[in-house]
Amino acid sequence: MQGDVEASIRDFIVDNFLFRDDRDSLSDTESLLEGGLIDSTGVLELVAFLETEVGIEIADAEIVPENLDSIRSIATYAKTKLAQVAA
């Protein structure tokens, strides 16, 4: 899963939150929160996806924009957590 983390996160977000036709226009660094793609409701689904599909455990204090605001930041955060588990 780890090698595909960024791709699977992108797929999940595009499939569940993107209502635009131009699926490829969502950049890895675009803010999901400021763009209105994800809100408090959506983030719960994202967190559930990361916990069940990516296999990381997310503490309440880690549900912050720094970790969940873009595909890149989510992937970086997830990879860091996976590395912590593996270490």
């Binding site: 675009e30 803010s31 400021e34 763009g35 967190v47 605001d69």
Partner: protein
Amino acid sequence: MLEIETRNSARPGAPRQAGQTGKEMPAPQESAVRALEPADIPAVANQFQRIFRDPRKQAPDSLRAYLADLFLHHHWREPDLASRVYIDAQGQVGGFIGVLPLRLLFNARPVRAAVAGSLMVDNRAENPLAGARLLRSFLAGPQDLSITESANRLSMGMWERLGHEPEVAYSMDWLRVLRPAGFAVAALGHWLRPARVLAPVASLADNIGNRMGRNALRPDFRTRGHADDREVGDEELIEHIPHFAEQYSLRPDWDEAALRWFLEHADRKERYGEISRRMVYGRGGAPLGFYIYHKRARDVGRVLQIMARPDAAGRVVESLLNHAYANGCVALRGRSHPQITGILMRRKSLFYCLSSTVVHSKNRDLLAPIRSGDALITGLAGEAWTRIIGGEFT
């Protein structure tokens, strides 16, 4: 009551790069969710006032005192079942979720439950994930069973994203119109206050309709078997409520002191009118059931609780409708419960959903009685007894 404030919410617009708005994101260690403390009450009360009441006014002292009483001095308070606040990056209270401890019995075994309500978040643009963190924090608590009976569209969406569906049998509101013209005016008056001047005209129209036998909604139940009802005080209610509750395998573990505390809170709902607490008796004076509702002439009565012996629920409902009609109510509304839904349906009630009841437990055994209608988890057992719903704070 679950609500997320929508002012200042992020608007979809041109994409921007994360972290490049010029507005500094709070660092992970700066925002936090923690247990409610007495010093938080003024901020929570102001937020409550802005979001649920009148944003032009400061929270009155009576509201502060009530929130402290409810959330810090609950009769069943337990330190680890506390309400929670979201502290934002500036160290201010940016969100709140009220948690009411609920002691249940499941097949005579104690169950720790918690009822969530009053979920509110200020300034969502700056605290976009606060609602999610508050709800997640609540669900991660030590309780065996998590309940809300007031999830609105927005917060229901959050529950659904977590994989929970509303408990339909406990999520419907029912409405029984008693005086059609009066109800139309009362409904209009809630939106347009001056329309209330039409109430005497509506009353006249309903009276004429009744005399002509044209009001098919007039309750005039001649019940099968004997039924008599009268107003009762705390002592009689406290004596009988646990007996009526015993028919449910999942029910509150009320003792005398607890019931007294809940009933005292339920007493005052100034927005709904004066309370009526009436016991219904059968032949020989045997209690058949009771009802508690708030009423005001020419307005809609609000039913808090109906409980009855399984074989007498119809007679108790009919006593309630008769009493409300005799006291000038134009309609009655309340929350559905599997025991009374069919009875109300057959007595010309309408059903709709304003807010949903949702439950969460890792123990599937606890969910089974709720799904089968064998649970008492709303009304006096849930959140509706609080003065947050229907109370006036000035």
